[in-house]
């Protein structure tokens, strides 16, 4: 043990003799290790962000969206009718197995007002099940319930940032907010997630049935002097299945049902779990790509070490000869040069790890890209740097040990 420690200390001394050369060699490893950690952190961060947004959609869910197509036919009186219909939903509910619940959505956007305070918000008309399916957490009050649905109550749930904006001083629960001519009693306030606060993405939830009652089945928009009337029963339908394993079977059924009822593709089917799997696959490929780019820089660093060690060996042939003359065995010489190579690469590894931990932080600060440093990548990068020393140090070390003592001593 003492001997190993002594060898390490002595190798430090030898490396110190050529400070510039040693530091340039170390530089290769530093960048190699740092780039491995940084690249993987960027890759990991990107996929973590993607996976998080997909996970929010829910892995048990299948989401249907109504889509307006260019070739959607207008029938009588400029009425444009497309998308998911009530009949579709009925057929889905009777024919698809393992459905836990469904949530119908109509999406509006417009000005939500309380007295002089107003904001542009997304108004989501939904079934009460939506709150459960999307795991929306309530900050205060209650969520929409079946009674609201049945009685078409004009009630609403606001997200907390909108509630703060509309009711800076008042108690929201004592008041009603106005949207498109109807007044809705505030019954609940949701918890706005931290990351959503800055985006000013205001949301209001009202019962689906109330929206139908208040705004009818047909929406009329005026554009370029002509009326355009649209009829969309449901903008979005979220089907919540009892477990993720039923998703693919349900998806197959769903495709057949929708295909049967629609001549054109005026809807899309989103399967979050499939997206999640695709994202995981993409992430894997991405990590392999980034990892191999970084691996190449480590390889280059390793070749740098070998190059320097070879130069060192030929420069120190006399030292090798002397050491052999005063009693060093071949394995002592191998050990000495290996230790030097490993010490070099581990110094590079240590600095590289420090740099590799700092870089993702800077990337996040400068480019606002989410990064995630994994302990695994740090460990692996560090171990690889050590391994680089072993691999690329061994050839010069063995070469030096195989020198004949007299030949080594003759060398000037």
């Amino acid at each position: 043990m003492d001997k190993i420690l002594a060898t390490i200390v002595l190798s430090f001394r030898s490396l110190k003799l050529h400070k510039l050369r040693s530091s340039l060699t170390v530089l290769g490893i530093i960048f190699g290790v740092a780039s491995v950690i940084t690249m993987l952190a960027v890759g990991e961060g990107a996929s973590a962000a993607a996976q998080e947004s997909i996970r929010k959609l829910g892995s048990n869910n299948i989401i249907l969206d109504s889509v307006k197509k260019e070739d959607t036919q207008e029938n009588q009186g400029n009425l444009l009718s497309y998308g998911i219909t009530y009949e579709d939903i009925e057929r889905i509910q009777t024919n698809v197995e393992s459905i836990e619940s469904v949530a119908r959505l109509r999406l509006y956007e417009g000005e939500v007002r309380y007295r002089e305070n107003s904001a542009t918000a997304e108004v989501i008309a939904c079934d009460p099940s939506y709150f459960h399916i999307q795991q929306i957490t309530l900050h205060k009050g209650r969520s929409l319930c079946l009674v609201d649905s049945r009685n078409r109550n004009d009630v609403c749930v606001l997200d907390s940032s909108l509630a703060e904006l509309l009711f800076p001083y008042q108690d929201p629960f004592a008041h009603k907010v106005n949207f498109d001519g109807s007044y809705y009693q505030v019954v609940g306030i949701t918890q706005t997630p931290e990351e959503a606060k800055s985006i000013k993405d205001y949301k209001v939830y009202i019962p689906f049935s109330s929206a139908v009652a208040n705004y009818g089945e047909v929406t009329t928009t005026v554009s370029q002097g002509s009326f355009q009337r649209e009829q969309v029963d449901v903008h979005q339908l979220i089907i919540n299945l009892s477990s993720a394993e039923h998703v693919y079977a349900a998806y197959g059924r769903l495709e057949r049902i929708m295909n049967h009822g629609h001549k054109i593709d005026d809807y899309t089917i989103k399967v979050p779990i499939r997206l999640l799997e695709e994202a995981a696959e993409t992430e894997r490929l991405f990590s392999i790509l980034l990892g191999s780019i970084a691996g190449i820089s480590l390889l280059v660093g390793g070749i740098g070490i070998m190059n320097i060690m070879l130069a060192t060996v030929s420069e120190r042939t006399k030292e090798i000869g002397l050491r052999r003359a005063i009693g060093a065995k071949k394995k002592d010489i191998v050990l000495q040069f290996m230790t030097e190579a490993i010490v070099l690469s581990l110094i590079g590894g240590c600095i590289g790890v420090l740099l590799g931990i700092t870089m993702p932080y800077l990337v996040t600060q400068l480019f606002e890209i989410e990064t995630k440093i994994s302990t695994l990548s740090v460990t692996v990068a560090f171990l690889i740097s050590g391994l680089t020393g072993v691999i690329f140090g061994s050839y010069p070390a063995i070469k030096s040990a195989n020198l004949k003592p007299i030949d080594a001593l003759k060398d000037i």
Binding site: R13, K16, K318, L322, A325, G327, A328, K329, K330, L409
Partner: protein, 228 residues
């Protein structure tokens, strides 16, 4: 103590076989001070390498302190050199990254089971013996040639070897320093150390008690002087 019998050494240089040592028989007793002399190409350096177990002859027997040197493998030879032979080279061969004291102690690195305190004390004694006790923390580059050679001598003695082998030890030194080094050899020999010096300088050879003159791989003369 040293017993060389019918030593032959030849090299292959291109198509030609060069006989560096043709047929050599030498016996050296403990405590002897021997100078091996000859012009370059006389085979004296080859002989030194064989004596120092750095090289093996093509033929012959070499017994040193009862061991047959040619029956040892590479590792055993290393161990043997480390323990029994102290080398002093013409160009000192000190390691620039280490201090004087560290250079003196370098051979200890390859010895097993060393008493750290005792060997440290011995290193200090040797530094005192060669007159460098106040230069222990200096680097070799900060020393004169003579001083560097003294460090090398101290280093060669740290493991208390049977023989001290010196290859042109004063070749790089001026006359005054040469005398100092040779005085040091005299002192060591007086203390009972067996010393073998290879040189082509007459004055250096004459300091030894026994002079072996070589030419063309053969011993030309082997004379023991009166005072030796």
């Amino acid at each position: 103590m040293i017993h060389l019998k019918q030593i032959k050494k030849s090299f292959q240089v291109g198509d030609q076989t060069v006989h560096a040592i043709r047929n050599l028989n030498i016996d050296i007793k403990q405590g002897e001070y021997v100078a091996i002399m000859g012009a370059s190409g006389s085979g004296k350096s080859t002989l030194l390498n064989i004596l120092g177990c750095l090289d093996t002859p093509t033929e012959g027997e070499y017994h040193i302190a009862g061991d047959s040197a040619f029956e040892l493998n590479d590792d055993q030879l290393s161990a043997f050199r480390g323990k029994q032979i102290g080398f002093v080279f013409q160009s000192y061969n000190l390691l620039p990254q280490f201090t004087v004291l560290e250079n003196i102690k370098l051979p200890l690195l390859y010895q097993k089971d060393i008493d750290q305190e005792a060997s440290h004390a011995r290193a200090l004694d040797l530094a005192r013996l060669v007159g460098l006790e106040d230069r222990l923390d200096h680097r070799p580059t900060e020393l004169s040639g003579g001083q560097q050679q003294r460090v090398a001598i101290a280093r060669s003695l740290i493991n208390e070897p049977l023989i001290l082998l010196a290859d042109e030890p004063t070749g790089n030194l001026d006359t005054k320093t040469e005398q100092e080094i040779l005085d040091l050899f005299d002192t060591l020999n007086a203390q009972g150390k067996t010393i073998i010096v290879v040189t082509h300088e007459q004055e250096v050879g004459e300091r030894a008690g026994r002079m072996i003159l070589m030419r063309d791989g053969l011993i030309l003369s082997d004379t023991t002087s009166a005072h030796g």
